[in-house]
């Protein structure tokens, strides 16, 4: 039995398989978040609980059968879906789901120096893009995906870099008064939609005449899908998914900006911002 999804070289079958490592990991994440919220359980905010639940669910879907298993060793397109879910969907949802009291308590106690150091916007931008480059270098990806430990390392690198990227946008601690809403919008655009790394990767996946990753090129076919077409789908998924996530994030930031301006300057500010948009 496998504990984590990785390339196996055996024919794909639509029959369920258990990955206990994934269950343990999801249980550990849930337990850690629950333990963080013990004090605020008496005053739950349903929408935050829902967001956090969706984040954990996105993580689970990405790691477990069938998406995790297909992405681990059969289809580049599923690998890309995993990346989107693990790095760009789950972390912001989980961070948005954190109760304000937890942030307040973190602020009161003071954030550990190392955590402050690695949660700057610059670090987030670099971390996500460096991890995208490293985990999509064919030599590195093919080598790591061949083992369960290697696949686990890739998934964790995505999750951690995703958390670092989203932290300055979503987490109110530490306070970053200089990181205003226009900068935040630029950060999202530069980090995902117009990231040079993403653009190059998408171009290589879509336009290369041969598949990028040996793992998927030499994997047993799933429903007869050609590996070049699969790689093209991966590129399109990264492009379309990245744009969609960027637009959702930018819309959210914009309306938060409007809301905060209204609170600070009255309703006239909304007209001003709408004109600017």
């Amino acid at each position: 039995m496998q504990w984590w999804c990785s390339a196996q070289g055996v024919a794909w079958a639509w029959s369920w398989r258990a990955y206990p490592g994934v269950w343990l990991f999801i249980a550990a994440v849930t337990l850690a978040l629950w333990s963080l919220h013990r004090r605020s359980l008496a005053r739950p905010q349903p929408w935050r609980v829902s967001l956090m639940g969706q984040g954990i669910l996105a993580l689970w879907i990405a790691l477990d059968w069938p998406v995790g298993a297909l992405g681990g060793g059969y289809l580049a397109s599923m690998h890309m879906l995993q990346f989107l879910l693990i790095a760009l969907v789950a972390p912001p949802l989980i961070l948005l789901g954190v109760h304000p009291e937890v942030w307040e308590s973190l602020r009161d106690r003071g954030l550990p120096a190392w955590l402050s150091a690695i949660t700057t916007p610059l670090t987030g931008l670099i971390a996500l893009n460096v991890v995208i480059v490293l985990t999509h270098l064919p030599a590195v990806a093919d080598l790591l995906m061949a083992t369960q430990l290697g696949s686990f390392a890739i998934d964790m690198a995505w999750l951690l870099s995703g958390a670092l990227f989203w932290w300055p946008l979503v987490a109110p601690v530490p306070a970053r008064p200089n990181f205003g809403h226009p900068l935040r919008m630029g950060y999202v655009i530069l980090g995902i939609m117009f990231s040079p790394v993403t653009i190059v990767l998408v171009a290589v996946l879509v336009f290369n005449e041969h598949p990028l990753f040996a793992t998927y090129e030499l994997a047993p076919r799933v429903n007869g899908l050609d590996s070049v077409a699969d790689h093209q789908m991966a590129g399109l998924l990264m492009s379309v998914g990245g744009v969609a996530i960027t637009l959702v994030a930018m819309t959210t930031i914009f309306f938060k900006w409007v809301q905060e301006s209204e609170r600070a300057n009255g309703p006239d500010a909304r007209d001003e911002l709408t004109r600017m948009a």
Binding site: S116, A117, T123, E209, P211, A214, A219, P220
Partner: protein, 230 residues
């Protein structure tokens, strides 16, 4: 200001360390990989294919095409570069990957180069690979691929003649089902009817595309030198 600088430097160090660890892990573990082996072959011969110790003459074995016409394997594989593979259509892994990779590589070649290549697929499972099934399976990959059938004895004889292990039935996942164990390499047979290179499972599309261009030219040269062809 100093604290902020320190934080940035610390975070960059953290990132650099992580990146270095990942790359180091990749480099150390990958040193003895198949990639190095194929890179060595390319450096030595200019081809990704494994040169056979001595050229193998394709045995004269009687098989049948999908219309039931008798075909002599030795005659069929003469005249232009032939990629010869023994496999079966129910194969869950090696056969479809090899065949689709060859088809994909051929799509990147010029028409003239493609015209200089013949792909022959000899079934090792004649019982289940009926002409209809074989035609449909090959047609879904590349309609120019040639499918051949035969008796188990003639197919075994062809494999023996090429120094390949004879295909054998293995129990399948379900009762009554079976798989067929067979050689995984594609043989590159030159126009003079001699197999000179083998492509094991794991050969990539880019590697096939790289080699096929060179093999077409080399094969034509071998044909010109072959007295029988003249």
């Amino acid at each position: 200001m100093r604290a902020a600088t320190f934080r940035t430097v610390s975070s960059l160090r953290f990132l650099r360390l992580g990146a270095a660890l990942l790359v180091a892990a990749a480099c150390t573990q990958g040193s003895a990989s198949a990639r190095d082996e194929s890179a060595r072959r390319v450096a030595e011969t200019g081809l990704y294919g494994r040169a056979l110790d001595s050229a193998l003459v394709i045995p004269s074995v009687s098989l049948a095409d999908l219309d039931g016409n008798a075909i002599d394997l030795a005659k069929l594989t003469r005249g232009k570069l032939t990629l010869l593979f023994f496999g079966y259509t129910h194969c869950p892994d090696v056969c479809p990957v090899h065949m689709t990779n060859i088809a994909a590589a051929m799509r990147t070649l010029s028409w003239a180069e493609r015209d200089g290549i013949r792909v022959v697929f000899v079934t090792t499972d004649p019982e289940r690979d009926t002409p209809v099934r074989l035609r449909s399976w090959l047609g879904s990959i590349d309609s120019s691929f040639v499918g051949l059938r035969g008796t188990n004895a003639s197919i075994d004889s062809a494999q023996r003649g090429l120094g390949l292990p004879e295909a054998m039935r293995l129990p399948g996942a379900h009762p009554g089902d079976y798989q067929v164990g067979h050689a995984g390499q594609v043989l590159a047979v030159f126009a003079d009817g001699r197999a000179r290179y083998a492509y094991p499972f794991g050969t990539r599309q880019a590697e096939f595309a790289h080699d096929l261009t060179k093999l077409v030219a080399a094969s034509a040269g071998a044909n010109a030198r072959d007295p029988e062809e003249r």
